[in-house]
């Protein structure tokens, strides 16, 4: 079922333009009951057999609805949670089960931007101490001294370096997110995993942060894995897009391909559900025409008890018997376009 993208861990990948390779990544959370006799009563299949790779300098976007496992994936990539199965190869090294001590040098290279700029900054620390924390923890001595480096970082993300001694509450949401970004950049990481970096921000500020991420990428040659639920933001930032549904990767394609010719029915539905900033046409009676759109019924099923075989079959309008019995493999239907569906859309009749 996994795609044959994996290289053996110890062998440096021959094509070294792949920075991150993930194969068969799985995370199951046990659900336990009882105080004295703990027994397992269920298993939340948050992420199930997810494989993809990320090239140096590119941006991979991961989209999906809440509960689809995007955040769990991000946290596994940064090793904030332990994968149940699968393999993560970063820069030619297998980091799947590295212990905390062995992981520490790698933390310089993989950093994370968090969603909520209010809870991800310690309110009792000054901006200076927040942004310099990575230097302190990694015992890095910078050439010009920590304070100078921090001020340069603040300037890099568009903050006033004189705000070094201020506290997070003195900043607005967008500025706080910039502080978080300055902190991630402190150690010049190779890979930045951003979990919903702009979803807590207002539209006008969102655009500022998106442009900032863009500039930093071209300036510092960063590689991003950006997680978002907003498809229009992902279209703007990502080179390639992975769509997740209930723990599965259902489609992975280049941005152009995915937005022009989505093949998985779920992607089609997701794209057509986005409200467009264009007033709907008025009908003759003065009412509004309803936009043509694929309407999904119901909610995402619980990952505690996901539907068998294709997990999307309960909400899919194309579902047939085979979708209930056989899980669709992730197949490459066009160059660089992988889809896990028995009856993909936008495909010339086979």
């Amino acid at each position: 079922m996994t795609t044959p993208v994996t290289e053996p861990a110890e062998v440096p990948a021959p094509a070294s333009d792949t920075l991150l390779t993930v194969s068969g990544l799985t995370k199951h959370f046990p659900v336990n009951r009882g105080i004295i006799f703990r027994r397992r009563v269920g298993l939340v299949r948050s992420v199930d057999d997810v494989s993809f790779d990320v090239a140096r300098g590119e941006t991979l976007g991961i989209v999906g609805e809440s509960g689809c496992g995007k955040t769990t994936t991000a946290r596994m990539l940064t090793r904030l949670i332990e994968p149940t199965a699968g393999q993560i190869i970063f820069d030619g090294r297998d980091i799947t089960h590295l212990r905390a001590g062995a992981m520490r040098p790698l933390r310089r290279e993989v950093q994370m931007i968090f969603q909520d700029p209010y809870s991800s900054l310690n309110p009792r620390h000054t901006v200076g101490s927040i942004v310099s924390a990575p230097f302190r923890l990694q015992k890095v001595k910078t050439e010009k001294g920590t304070k100078k480096s921090v001020q340069e970082l603040l300037e890099l993300v568009g903050l006033n370096p004189e705000h070094y001694n201020r506290y997070p509450h003195e900043f607005s949401g967008g500025q706080r997110q910039r502080i978080g970004i300055a902190r991630t950049l402190a150690l010049r990481p190779k890979l930045i995993v951003a979990d919903e970096p702009v979803s807590a921000l207002d539209v006008s500020i969102q655009a500022q942060v998106v442009n900032l991420l863009d500039d930093l990428q071209s300036e510092l040659g960063l590689t991003y894995v950006i997680i978002a639920h907003d498809l229009s933001v992902i279209r703007h930032v990502a080179n390639r897009v992975a769509v997740m549904y209930l723990g599965n990767l259902v489609e992975l394609a280049s941005r152009e391909d995915l937005y022009k010719r989505p093949r998985h029915p779920y992607t089609v539905a997701l794209l057509s559900a986005v409200p467009l900033p264009e007033p709907a046409k008025r009908t003759a009676e003065g009412g509004r025409e309803r936009r043509e759109r694929v309407r999904l019924v119901g909610d995402v099923p619980s990952p505690l008890n996901p539907p068998p075989a294709c997990r999307f079959h309960t909400r899919c309008w194309k579902a047939q018997e085979v979708c209930r019995t056989e899980p669709p493999p992730l197949r490459e239907l066009a160059p660089g376009h992988q889809v896990a569906c028995h009856f993909p859309e936008n495909t010339p009749a086979a």
């Binding site: 609805e65 809440s66 607005s172 949401g173 967008g174 500025q175 207002d202 539209v203 006008s204 500020i205 969102q206 655009a207 500022q208 998106v210 442009n211 863009d214 639920h229 907003d230 498809l231 229009s232 933001v233 279209r235 703007h236 941005r255 152009e256 937005y259 539905a269 997701l270 794209l271 057509s272 559900a273 986005v274 409200p275 467009l276 900033p277 264009e278 007033p279 709907a280 009412g287 509004r288 309803r290 936009r291 759109r293 309407r295 999904l296 019924v297 909610d299 995402v300």
Partner: protein, 378 residues
């Protein structure tokens, strides 16, 4: 009208107690007429002018979208119309006529009578606005019981009907469920059922879909549009998502720093916006319906503090065209003036200049997107 059923008691009491606000009648026959609404909060740091002179009208069966960034006064406006600033230290002034009845000077008891009956509200976060201790059915039936002379049994049956109306499967059994047994989308449906249970004439939806996933959001927006047609209520939808207002609204009010920046039909706002703030909002969103452009055009800076609103035009520190106004932007508050039929904007730029700049901006955005697209295709 059926909407008036069971209201004789309240109406009689009103006739007995003369209203205080007879010196001026509503200017229009619209169902909701808000004139110069101001809501100020005195704080230790100074006076927060959360809403500073808002006027709009809304007819039956129509939808008004109020858009703006956080802190622009959208929610405070809606709470003001609901009369929910009673008993707080808010200083509310202005006039709100609902069907010819003035609400700001009305007694708290009278406002309470209207609330939930003629005016209802859908809140943003369905989890924190449903009471976890009571069943969904009880919470839906509660308002119906209070505002109508019916028994508990009939009220519960009404709750079942309402759940059915908003598309909850098995309403007979789900009516006895607690909010935690519902998913996010179902909770929002239950909220909608609750707000519609008394067939309100005015429904205020404050960010009704912000907490929801995009496929569920589409379901809820469809549902709201269907129900509006069925019930014929007037709807105010408050959101920061321009896509959502484009989907539902007939008229749009753009707020900035507690004031009206622009007010017009949705075609006015989306096709010929006149205020630089509206240009900024439209330019900063990534557009799925257009070719992808390499850069977004953000509005520089951040929204101002409402304690210390910039002098002159509140938007001038972030406005690229403030210099084009002979310094007026810096010390003179721009009046709201007509830039087209029924289309108002509070901006010192002349109408011709606004048209010229928007034309240029739009052309630049489209051509940038096209050339980026071509480069990508090549």
């Amino acid at each position: 009208m059926a909407l008036w059923r069971g209201r004789t008691k309240g109406a009689a009491r009103d006739a007995a107690a003369p209203t205080v606000t007879d010196e001026s009648a509503p200017a229009t026959s619209a169902m909701l007429d808000v004139q110069d609404l101001k809501i100020h909060f005195p704080t230790d740091d100074g006076l927060v002018k959360a809403v500073d002179g808002i006027s709009f009208t809304l007819d039956r069966g129509k939808t008004l979208g109020i858009v703006g960034e956080s802190g622009s006064g959208k929610s405070v406006t809606s709470l003001g119309i609901m009369g929910l600033h009673h008993g707080t230290n808010a200083q509310v002034s202005g006039k709100i006529w609902l069907d010819g009845e003035e609400l700001i000077a009305a007694s708290a008891a009278r406002v309470r009578e209207l609330r939930g009956d003629k005016v209802a509200m859908i809140f943003q976060d369905p989890l924190s606005s449903l009471h976890p201790y009571y069943t969904v059915g009880y919470q839906i039936a509660e308002a119906y019981l209070i505002h109508n002379k019916v028994g508990k049994k009939a009220a519960k049956q009404h709750a079942v009907d309402m759940l059915n109306r908003v598309g909850i499967p098995n309403p007979q059994t789900r009516v006895d469920d607690y909010p935690h047994q519902f998913s996010g989308g179902m909770r929002q449906r239950a909220m909608i059922a609750m707000s519609l249970s008394c067939n309100p004439e005015l429904l205020i939806a404050d960010e009704p879909t912000t907490a929801l996933d995009v496929t569920v959001q589409a379901q809820i927006l469809d549902l709201m549009a269907d129900l509006q047609q069925e019930f014929g209520s007037a709807v105010i939808i408050i959101t920061h998502d321009l896509g959502v207002v484009a989907e539902l609204a007939d008229d749009i009010l753009v707020m900035y720093a507690g004031r009206m920046a622009e007010y017009g039909t949705s075609e006015d706002i989306f096709d010929r916006p006149a205020h630089p703030y509206a240009w900024g909002l439209l330019g900063s969103m990534p557009r799925m319906d257009r070719a992808r452009s390499e850069r977004l055009i953000p509005i520089p800076g951040t929204p101002p503090s409402l304690i210390n609103v910039p002098s002159g035009c509140p938007f001038h520190p972030r406005c690229a065209y403030a210099a084009n106004t002979n310094g007026k932007s810096f010390n003179e508050v721009p009046p709201l003036r007509a830039v087209g039929p029924g289309h108002l904007a509070a901006c010192h730029l002349s109408t011709d200049e606004q048209r010229r700049i928007w034309g240029e901006l739009l052309a630049a955005q489209l051509s940038a997107a096209d050339s980026d697209q071509q480069r990508e295709d090549a």
